[in-house]
Amino acid sequence: MKPRNTLFTLARRVLAVSLVALIFAVNGGVAFAAEEAAVAPAGETAIAPVGQPAPVLTEESYPLLGGGSSRVKVWIVAQLHLFFAAFVLGVPIFVLVIEGIGMATGDKRYDAMAKEFIKISMVAFSFTATLGGILLFLLAMLYPDFTVYSLKIFRPILIAYALLFFGESLCLYIYYYGWEAMSSGFGKWVHLTVGLLLNAAGMTLMVLSNSWATFMMAPSGVTPDGAFLGDVWAVMHGPLWNPINLHRFIANIAYGGSIVGAYAAYKFLTAKAPEEKAHYDWMGYTANFIAVVGLLPLPFAGYWLTKELYAYSQQMGITLMGGIFAWLFIIQALLIGAIFLGANYYLWLGLVRVPGGEAYRKAIGWMATVLLVCFLVWFTPHTIIMTSSEIKALGGAHHPVLGALGVMSAKNTAVNIMILTTFLAFLLYQRAGKIPKVGWARGGNAALAALFAAGAANIVTLGIYGYYIPANIRIGLSVPQVFTTLFVIAAASLINGVMYRGASETGPTRWGDMPARSQYALFLLAVSFTWLMGLMGYVRSGIRQHWHVYTVFRDYSPDAFTPTLGYAANVVSVTVLIFMAMVIFIFWLDNFSRKKAAHK
């Protein structure tokens, strides 16, 4: 079977597996709680605390280590750790899926590609662990009181974390080194099971460590002055935990895809032999596909997170979307715009390699225009953000003001249309070079066109309607918009799938027949994804402002201020560059070991 034909099957399976993993992720913590303990938000409880209140510190409580700001040190190391962690979590998920596809279709290329993917994540795995160790060391050195405070609360989780990490390493080694030994018959099933265990351990690790971050943003299970109430489950299961679990889970898959895409692009550009070029072109295409499948649901997960954030604390929500961080979301829009455009651009160029793809190239101009308009709408929200002096005048330095979610109507609309357009690009690519056999093909096409038109009209109408209703009702409108998008995607896939079943082809896909600039779109994707992650990692922590743990444990260090966005962006850039250097090193190692192998 041709890989291109199976990609939609792949998409379905990615989604199915994701769902299972997700259910697991969301419930993963249950094991730690014998009974479903009620969530106890700070302050709404009569239970006597078992811990000490969060300490009150002075600047002297923060030891210094060499020159420079302690915060920046921890920031960079934590972010690097997260980059690698996200990568080594995301890759095994789709490796498992690809291995399964290879097994189901009997196409050896899938199996080889899956193994190549996991090989890349082996070195990344040890980097993750090392960086995690450095992070813990730095925290203990530079923020001793905070570290002791959190360790006291999270002690049982930490033990589980260490055990899981050990289990994950074990699974990964068996999975990788046992690939050949368990390559057929029952052995292959055992191998798949190890892969599943690997993912289970990884996901559980992620949700455990997410709870540390979400506890710091929206603490639960402690008294208003930070004394631990004795129930770790209540601490973990805070209001933002599951939204972050979901958002990160999806983002990690997309992120993993984008990095593997960059790897394939690099290999493609340096490959000499046509077979090699074809292989890496196909790999790049698959990786990009995975990245986009992950990208499409991300905005929805993002909005859920925002909604829970407002519900937890309106003050925090407004500070985020309308206060000092408002401009950050303009940067975010720029990045996501770059990612969407890059992914689409790659798909459009991909039409070259499909005989008969030319027929659809007319559509590209239109789709590019739609994307651009959406991007601009998103980029310039209607309550245009003010200058810093206006912000100061309205709300004082720490808490400037904005008509926050007022912009969401337009933004939601733009995002949904962007998603539909990207999906359309996939659909066209899928159809390129094929002639449907069914008699109702014309009707089917008309139905598809009508579906897209009606969907877009519905989304835009809802968006406009949003301007006429109060803010707190408006946020609810995003739900029907999302459902419209999901419905169009599902229905169109179905119609198109049935219509093209058994379609005849005008010729085989010419893998490897791609212009070099298409590969730069893959690099753009990888770099932008990494940068976006760094930026959002910053806002996740920045939103706490002058608190270690929001509202309960104040930050008394000299770094308690909120830096300017430019400064934060520079730190993110430096971190991304370090990460890239490390990744290039990994790729180089890989090449190096191959050369050695070739010599033997």
Binding site: Q314, W547, V572, I584
Partner: protein, 291 residues
């Protein structure tokens, strides 16, 4: 190699572009709100109202929600679609059938609105899905805002003054302040001479600006010599930082030519905060060439 260089150049360009864009938008750095308690010395009603305004706009973060742009909360200090300023409309809140708080006077309503906002939720502003029974406003005496009772009074005074109604909150008295702050500062000395006497710095050091009664102790370094740190102290610490650490953790950096463990290590426990500040400030000034 050429390909790699091209890829690198491209990636650098992208990263640089993002950094450039982020630096080209309005830049704002936010300092954490100060934790220092307000000085009530010589407070008049006018300055109390001004203090209230500062807290309202700064530490209290009230305009974050209460502003004319976002429609997230009713306007408080100006008249608008929500009626006259809040201190003027307070009586009508108390008369409202939905009111279920415990306040009986407008001033009490304002205070109650700040510390238990759900006692009365202005129509249309409740948390979504609660039918205006739960307010999204935080208790400003707790959480991340944490105003003291005196600060809350100051904000009330400001809201009353902005509405042009009588200011009914009493001026805070000295008694309130001393009752709160006395234990912390009891018996603290107020000048460097007395401090050097009380903690016996004079036994080991020549202390600048202090009458040494003809003595020149040499157990510890001559503190006039701190001048050499004015441009940068050991460990690259700022001067005051360094002095503070030298006093509370003497062994952290042992001055050249002297023995560790000579200077008492327990000043951190024995000295009052204000005394430590006094010593640091006085030594720093001397080092910087002041008096």
């Amino acid at each position: 190699m050429k390909t790699l260089a091209q890829i690198l150049a491209f990636s650098l360009m992208v990263v640089g572009g993002y950094s450039w864009f982020s630096n080209s938008i309005p830049q704002l750095r936010a300092e954490p709100p100060s934790e220092e308690s307000v000085s009530l010395e010589g407070m008049t009603m006018e300055s109390f109202v001004a203090l209230g305004q500062t807290i309202f706009e700064g530490k209290g973060t009230c305009p974050l929600c209460h502003n004319a742009v976002g429609h997230r909360a009713p306007l408080l200090v100006e008249a608008g679609s929500d009626g006259p300023p809040v201190a003027a409309r307070a009586p009508s809140r108390l008369a409202d059938g939905r009111y279920h708080g415990t306040a009986s006077k407008p001033e009490e309503y304002l205070r109650e609105s700040m510390v238990s906002p759900s006692a009365f939720v202005v129509e249309g502003f409740g948390k979504p899905g609660t039918g205006d029974s739960v307010s999204p406003m935080p208790d400003v005496s707790a959480g991340s805002i944490k105003l003291s009772p005196v600060e809350i009074d100051a904000v009330i005074a400001y809201m009353q003054s902005a509405a042009g109604v009588d200011i009914t909150v009493p001026l805070p008295t000295e008694a309130v302040e001393t009752a709160e702050s006395a234990p912390a500062d009891e018996g603290a000395v107020k000048d460097m001479g007395a401090l050097a006497e009380k903690y016996e710095c004079k036994l080991c050091h020549i202390v600048p600006g202090v009458d040494m009664a003809g003595e020149a102790p040499d157990m510890g370094p001559d503190l006039n010599g701190l001048k050499r740190y004015a441009k940068g102290a050991p460990d690259k610490l700022p001067l005051r930082e360094y002095l503070r650490l030298s006093i509370v953790e003497p062994n952290r950096h042992v001055a050249q030519g002297f023995e560790p463990d000579t200077m008492p290590p327990d000043f951190a426990d024995r000295m009052r905060v204000s005394e430590l500040d006094l010593a640091v400030e006085s030594l720093a000034r001397a080092a910087e060439g002041g008096k």
